[in-house]
Subunit: 132 residues, 4 copies
């Protein structure tokens, strides 16, 4: 994924375009991991014990996806709800990471998903330090 190269081509690129690009990539990556983790949990023998994990995965995938799209836009950024949405994304990633951490030793998909969620929390924090 080449978010940085793409965001640079905007007619009026923002000064925060690099932090924006990193957060866009972290959001898409987290969305992939959460959507895939929900599906892997669903196929586990112990699916009945993974209900909370699946629900939080699905929420986090939806929220990360929407956030990635919002952050892919630089036009009229100052009037956008980007900062509030990044905060919601941070919360979703943190809640999903907590769930998946609990299953890290039993399910490799939960371990990878927790890592992607934690990376997205960091990217959100970095961006919020600049735009909030």
């Amino acid at each position: 994924m080449q978010a940085q190269a793409m965001l640079k081509t905007h007619p009026n690129p923002l000064s925060v375009q690099d932090a924006l690009a990193e957060c866009v990539e972290a959001c898409f990556d987290c969305a992939l991991h959460c959507s895939s983790c929900a599906d892997a949990c669903l196929a586990e023998d112990g699916v009945a014990d993974l209900r909370g994990c699946i629900r939080t995965d699905l929420d986090c995938a939806d929220i990360c996806n929407a956030t990635a799209r919002v952050l892919s836009r630089q036009t009229a950024f100052g009037e956008s709800p980007a900062a509030t949405q990044v905060k919601a994304c941070r919360d979703a990633c943190q809640k999903c990471a907590e769930h998946c951490e609990g299953h890290r030793d039993h399910h490799q998909h939960c371990a990878l998903c927790a890592d992607a969620c934690n990376a997205c929390v960091t990217a959100c924090d970095n961006l919020l330090g600049l735009i909030d």
Copy 2:
């Protein structure tokens, strides 16, 4: 749309299911209006003056869509990022409504879109009064 009837069929429906259903419907309705308003603005002669409106429409559509999906889920609701996401949705709707209100007299699509956004703000507030 029959969100109320559908949410009632959950094996363990929440006590706030009615406010949830109303907010789900308001979010989907707002997503439709925002997506359609962005497209109508794009076709206007004065599209160059509607850039901020289009961007905010697209953000609001993405955020309302994600919020609707999060709120369609009642399993493990207490561990979900629902409340934070509804706050972000409220912010997106409010910002989009402000943009569209400014064009209410010139563009019927902006008038209808502002109404849908305002209705979604109210639905978010009602739900937040119960879950936040």
Copy 3:
């Protein structure tokens, strides 16, 4: 939801705007039912037997959501991938309906979801009769 009133406000509304509006509404309604049905299935005691239903629900929700957004746009419609996407949506709804029909007598959410899927198949067919 007022898709018809909204699509009418486009500067250059299509002659097929009514069939478009009906399909947009059917898609959003089906997306809600599928997302909610996946979550209700997840909470059932017999979740292990509902894996296929949940997966098909999630696919159908994603596909209906994307289709609704595509169909909310009338600008440059002739150059769009709308017809192909509506065919994919029809297929997703049909596959999801078949799954949910199998559980109609045991789960009310599957019965309502199958109805929403079948209604969306009909709306897709009606639209395809005009644009394909």
Copy 4:
């Protein structure tokens, strides 16, 4: 993005998991480029001449996003609408690529977007060769 590593963690990974992972990544990458290209086109002085490009970008972003999510799932794959959705995705990418190719020399974002769309067409073809 690490789709391959993630898809490998599924309890019952498919034999086509590598082609699936490549297509998932191509779809997310294309979704990012299309969403960002629409926003960059919107900020161009000649936005009025880029309406078709923006509409096709937005459609392609929505369709690629939904396709990526469908392909992130391996549970009950045989019953899913994956193949039909990949065909719709291929069509959306091809139509968007054609639009953006026409602006390649004037707008760097259209050049990068056309490349991402063409790469996604190839990934869809590769996958369809295995699952259709």
